[in-house]
């Protein structure tokens, strides 16, 4: 089989102990050189899905295929291989760094884990560090001794040390001030070009997603409700939830020109999702059919997909 540099997720579901189905049948594809955005609010399952791609969550059904290799029934060496190909950076960088390791040890560890020659690879690590704007003087510090921004860079460096093809970034800009948020996003796009990475960005920040991703998938209660090229989805959303999300996103509007669509009600608990369309309890366009029949994710033009019985007409 020809090696395809992709991660293919085929209809996976992840259920936690206690019966909460956090991810309910999702299919996605991520290729190298591409940035995919995963958007959703709390309870949407976006982080759970991201972790399933790194093998931190075991799907109860469906397949994850990384570069042609099926991850179901992984052996130990498979898992090691996978974790070299697909790396993750976590939401809170400081707490994702082992507190009693110096930065030097933190950066050397991935090499040791993957049996790479540390001496040979060290110059590449130093190069990566300078690319990320980390000084060598930081090497002997502990994570809590560097700033939050630097801890974030260390976490990114660690993810890239073993040369992965895919990077999963969970809320990479959460808690950042706007003046440094751009810096981090620029950095990610530089790294993507340099190492031709496939990047999955999980975020609730639509501005970030809209700006840096090629394609976007919108999740609601464990399902993808809409997917497609980011620009098109943002310009002309098909799913009422996507439209509401985009509308709720605060943008600079001192003259209050924009009419917001404010959804009523709370996000239902993922432990008992509504029957029919999962969004019907909050959908402004709800019809009787939506309460009974679950809409399927259907293909549309331009590689778009959406799951709605009554998709929105394009404005154009």
């Amino acid at each position: 089989m020809a090696e395809s540099k992709t991660i293919e997720v085929e209809n996976i579901s992840v259920t936690f102990a206690g019966g909460v189905q956090a991810v309910a049948g999702i299919s996605l594809k991520l290729s190298v050189g591409e940035t995919l955005g995963l958007v959703g609010e709390s309870g949407s399952g976006k982080t759970t899905l991201a972790k399933a791609l790194v093998g931190l969550n075991r799907p109860e059904s469906g397949r994850v295929v990384v570069e042609g290799r099926d991850l179901t029934g992984l052996t130990r060496s498979d898992r090691l291989w996978l974790r070299q190909r697909v790396q993750m950076i976590f939401q809170d960088p400081l707490s994702s760094l082992s507190p009693r390791f110096t930065i030097r040890k933190l950066l050397a560890e991935p090499l040791a884990i993957h049996g790479l020659n540390a001496k040979e690879r060290w110059p590449a690590v130093l190069d990566l560090m300078s690319r990320l704007g980390l000084a060598e003087t930081q090497l002997d510090k502990f994570p809590h001794q560097v700033s939050g921004g630097q801890a974030r860079r260390v976490a990114i460096a660690r993810a890239l040390v073993a040369d992965p093809s895919f990077l999963i970034a969970d809320e990479p800009t959460a808690g950042l001030d706007v003046s440094v948020q751009g810096e981090l996003l620029n950095l990610l796009s530089d790294l993507q070009q340099r190492f031709s990475l496939g990047i999955l960005i999980v975020s609730h920040n639509l501005n970030v997603i809209g700006r840096v991703t090629d394609r976007v998938a919108i999740m609601y209660l464990g399902k993808v409700v809409e997917e497609g090229p980011t620009r098109e989805v943002f310009r002309a959303p098909k799913h009422p939830y996507t439209r509401a999300l985009l509308s709720a996103n605060p943008v600079i509007d001192p003259e209050h020109k924009r009419k917001k669509i404010v959804l009523s009600g709370e996000i239902p608990s993922p432990s008992k999702p509504p029957a029919g369309c999962r969004f019907h309890t909050r959908c402004p366009n709800v019809q009787p059919r939506c309460r009974e029949e679950e809409p399927l994710l259907t293909e549309a033009e331009n590689g778009r997909r959406y799951a709605c019985h009554f998709p929105l007409e394009s404005a154009a």
């Binding site: 809170d92 994702s96 507190p99 884990i113 073993a162």
Partner: protein, 277 residues
Amino acid sequence: MDILRRIWRSPSGRIGLIATLLVVIGGLAAPLIATHMPNQIDVAARLSPPSATHWLGTDHLGRDLFSRGLYGTRIAVGVALAVTATALFIGILLGVIAAYAPTPVERIILAVFDIISSYPSLILALALVAVLGPGLLNIIILVTIVFVPQFGRIARAQTLTIKERPFLEAERALGASGSRIMFHHVLPNIVGPIVVLASMNIPVVITLEAGLSFLGVGIRPPLASWGSMLFDGFTYLEQSVWPVLVAGGMLTLATLGFTLFGEALRDAIDPKLRREP
């Protein structure tokens, strides 16, 4: 060392450190410092007060109290260290297993801990002596059993909190194996508080061993033990206070020293633990 400097900064820590060093050096150097053999009997000089030959006097068999006290230090501190180290090792092992094992295993381990610690330590020790019999090795074994649950519980609790910390998940995502995560990332983060507990535990073990020896079920004569010295001293208290004073004084110095040292160590390592009972 930074930690030692921080201990030295508090007055009680300084006293504790000095007392602990005195006791430990006294014990280690006992053969060099002691003026007499600890079991050397001199019936002619029995129950004599301090003098030039017997610095701290003699006991009812005319044995030199200063030398016996020093040798008693070896027993006391030796037993305390052996017990604490073994209990620490077994406790951490069981605690970590309990934290990671499936629920039934965890329940069994916790139940054993509960059973052991539901008895007052002296009563349990006495019961175990009845089974194992007295003697140095048996004392070490049974006192260890008494103290394992303490360490096990705190090791489990620490592991459970560490287990939820995101960096372990990050390590897994990086591909780290279970044993690497355990030895490189879990253990170094749980030993701090446990070692502090262990240092505070040493005086408790010393007292317990002295208590057992006092009751005649601990270290067997003629080995010098503060507990048995105290017991003998009490028998002859009306004739001389010196045996009781020497044994009691050394016991006090050692427990006080280790306690103050342990408290200062705790404060130095983790200021957050302060003000806990």
